[in-house]
Symmetry: C2
Subunit: 454 residues, 2 copies
């Protein structure tokens, strides 16, 4: 084990999480005195901003994911493992199947969707965070049209063709736009009994407008564009209950029960379990989303060698709003932490407190429509979409993916086709349990259908 | 329901299965007096000959699959349903959730891997028939390297780096070649503790040579090429047992136990359950692989309106060997059956008995190596690979896929990269049960590892 002996003298950095924060931290540490290990449960980095494209059949999972080993080849050791706890005094990360010693620790384990105490809704109304979520949602969306095609009962068909998206943030808007595009254009010719463009897509947002992190004029543009695509927008409305076959919406005092088979959840996020463990181990303060309150240099108070980056960090510049959970924030924080650690190693003075260089905020609405808040100007429509396309391609981690995604998009744009429309996972026990209610309903209805349709 | 009334007068053709046989039958029936319905459990056609590329991370599932509704848009109704039985006297196909009346029936439900009575091996040694199989195998292959990287125990590392492929037919050869390529070139730089090129890939074939359906000189070329890629070839050897952590091989009287964590099964096929149901319903003769013995016009004796095509059909021309289960056979049979049915409708005389136009047989061995038996000549090496590439791209069902696959291949060829190296499905109950033994082993070993590696 000679090489191991030689590395004992190095400063061990453990990075938890291969998302934007962790990946950009690991890539930015180039000092040879550092021995960097990145731990993730998955073997790939996921370009989450494009996950909604997988969920709506526009891109394949491999288009938006790249193996971490590939991305970090010479820079860091990659370990496929599950982090279960932290022993900060002993400077160890505890894994489900072992442990990892560290001198400096960077935790960037991201976030998950927040069901606000209704975790039982999760199986009925999946969120969109992982590749599996995306293929599950894709299967549900496509299956809903198939079931609608098979039933002869008008009420049931309407239920299958009703799609409710909870949450009018960027993910909700993007899903609603892409789903409208899928139903109105891509699949228009595919069915016999139904017209997919009859699909009712209902976007539900608790606050008074969509995209509340954007300026009001862009929210209004977004709502207009979605309405032109046939999306029904219900602002000021809460999802009060999600039950099999129906959803209860609440607007002020009025509540309304909507029959619907497909509900998607994009309303609010919270940190994952790892954040809670770390907060406990460090005695750190957390906010109501579970984010860890960090110092201006992204360390945890009292633990100068423990850093938090990305969605897990609560950092409010000059007493303002905490930074949002966006990919650029996580990237810049990852790079900043790498800089802090490297300067400590080289004995250079620490960098100034972390400052987020906010170059703007964008959301895509559908084919050739987007909104972009670049602070010095607001852009919408086709120019915003072009800008969005350009920036996302630029950031896509691997050159090959970038090229393939570009071609796939160009093709989709010209033909309105979506080639990745596969219903996978069926026949395996995995998603079957979750899809149980869909399939049972389908069965009952299809028996009725077969007697009537030729 | 006016359109349904009008269609009542039409001749109803039900096609069971959206593989090559069913798809080509449905596409070839253009007579407007026919009402064609294609039934499949999945919503996509799968280009099975390239499935091994998905299993080894070279292509994404969506690259080799296309939505059936898209492929058949104007030609046939597509029904997503599971066929459970046939009522031939009542001219009905019985679905899990309904039934379908027919005037003519085409059954082309394909085949599955044959474990020759050892179905308990299935979870330990998965076959390669579906998209889920391919992503499961991809996850197992990639996880094995990850586990080898983590263990400090030499024997265990060796076990994780030992890959046994049962069956030296085209699928086994293709998997072995692609896996060798993945280990020796693609992942060479990706690990720290292990050298992936140390992986032992053992291809086990019961008969005396690989690719027994090819001429002997091409078998010899194949074996040479695989050996140069580092594959160990064990002909005249049977898999006697598959157990957790080991495989028992038997050569003549000698038996040998090989520690190995990853076993893939490509040895022999048999028909799926639907074939048995149809044979019983029709009182038809089957061979030992479960294939239904058909008349020269691909009907079942005594049932002139029931056709069988593709892997499910046993048709032996002039008392020779039955036609092999290859994509071109299925395609030609599908088209032939369509012709028979159309001629009956138009009152034209039936076509001559089905004749398979055998344009040759190919197998790919690895990067830039293949063998092709074109009957009038034998080709191997790079020219055969180019021919293989050309023909497979030509047949890929959708133009978009063809272009994307071509680019992905060109890229892989130049860089030896494989971008679709994702371990997915983890964290879901589905494949977790099947992967249980892998993960348990991993856990035990990694605890040991963490104490020793820095």
């Amino acid at each position: 084990m000679m090489p191991c002996m030689a590395e004992h003298a190095k400063h061990k950095v453990v990075v938890v999480g291969g998302g934007f924060g962790g990946l950009y931290a690991a890539r930015a540490m180039t000092n040879s005195a550092l021995q960097v290990t990145l731990v993730d449960r998955r073997n790939f980095h996921l370009f989450q901003p494009l996950l909604y494209q997988v969920a709506t059949g526009g891109l394949a999972p491999a288009n938006i994911a790249a193996p971490l080993r590939n991305l970090l080849r010479q820079r860091a050791r990659v370990l496929l493992a599950e982090v279960v706890d932290f022993d900060l005094a002993g400077r160890r990360v505890l894994l489900a199947d072992g442990e990892l010693p560290f001198d400096s620790l960077i935790v960037a384990a991201g976030s998950e969707f927040n069901y606000f105490g209704h975790d039982d809704w999760r199986s009925l109304a999946p969120g969109l965070k992982s590749i599996e979520d995306a293929t599950e949602i894709r299967a549900r969306l496509l299956t809903a049209f198939e079931m609608a095609e098979r039933t002869a009962d008008a009420a049931e068909r309407r239920r299958w063709l009703t799609f409710i998206i909870a949450g009018g943030g960027a993910t909700g808007v993007e899903l609603a736009g892409a789903l409208a595009d899928l139903a109105r254009y891509t699949m228009r010719q595919d069915f016999r009994a139904i017209d997919p463009s009859e699909a009712r897509i209902i976007l539900v947002e608790g606050r008074e407008r969509l995209l509340t992190t954007f300026p009001e004029d862009l929210s209004a543009h977004t709502a207009d564009t979605l309405r032109r695509l046939g999306v029904t927008i219900r602002t000021g409305t809460m999802v009060a209950d999600v039950r099999p076959h129906e959803v209860v919406l609440k607007q002020g005092d009025r509540s309304e029960t909507l029959p619907a088979e497909t509900v998607l959840w994009t309303a609010g996020v919270r940190t994952a379990g790892v954040a809670g463990r770390l907060a406990q181990a460090a005695g750190a303060e957390t906010d109501r989303m579970g984010r860890i309150v960090v110092q201006p240099d992204l360390t945890i108070a009292g633990h100068p060698n423990v850093f938090v980056a990305g969605d897990m960090a609560h950092l409010a510049p000059q007493g303002g709003e905490p930074l949002p959970g966006l990919a650029p924030v996580a990237m810049q924080q990852g790079q900043y932490v790498a800089q802090v650690i490297e300067r400590r190693i080289t004995g250079d003075p620490p960098p100034p407190p972390f400052h987020y260089h906010d170059r703007g905020n964008m959301a895509v609405i559908g084919r050739s429509a987007a909104v972009a808040d670049l602070h010095w100007t607001h852009v919408w429509g086709f120019p915003a979409w072009l800008a969005w396309l350009f920036i996302h391609l630029l950031y896509l981690a691997q050159f090959q993916n970038r090229l393939l995604v570009l071609i796939q998009w160009a093709w989709n744009y010209v033909t309105r086709s979506r080639s990745a429309r596969l219903i996978t996972g069926e026949g395996r026990s995995g998603s079957e349990a979750e899809r149980g209610r869909h399939r049972d309903t389908g069965r009952a209805s299809a028996v009725a259908a077969s007697a009537e349709t030729p």
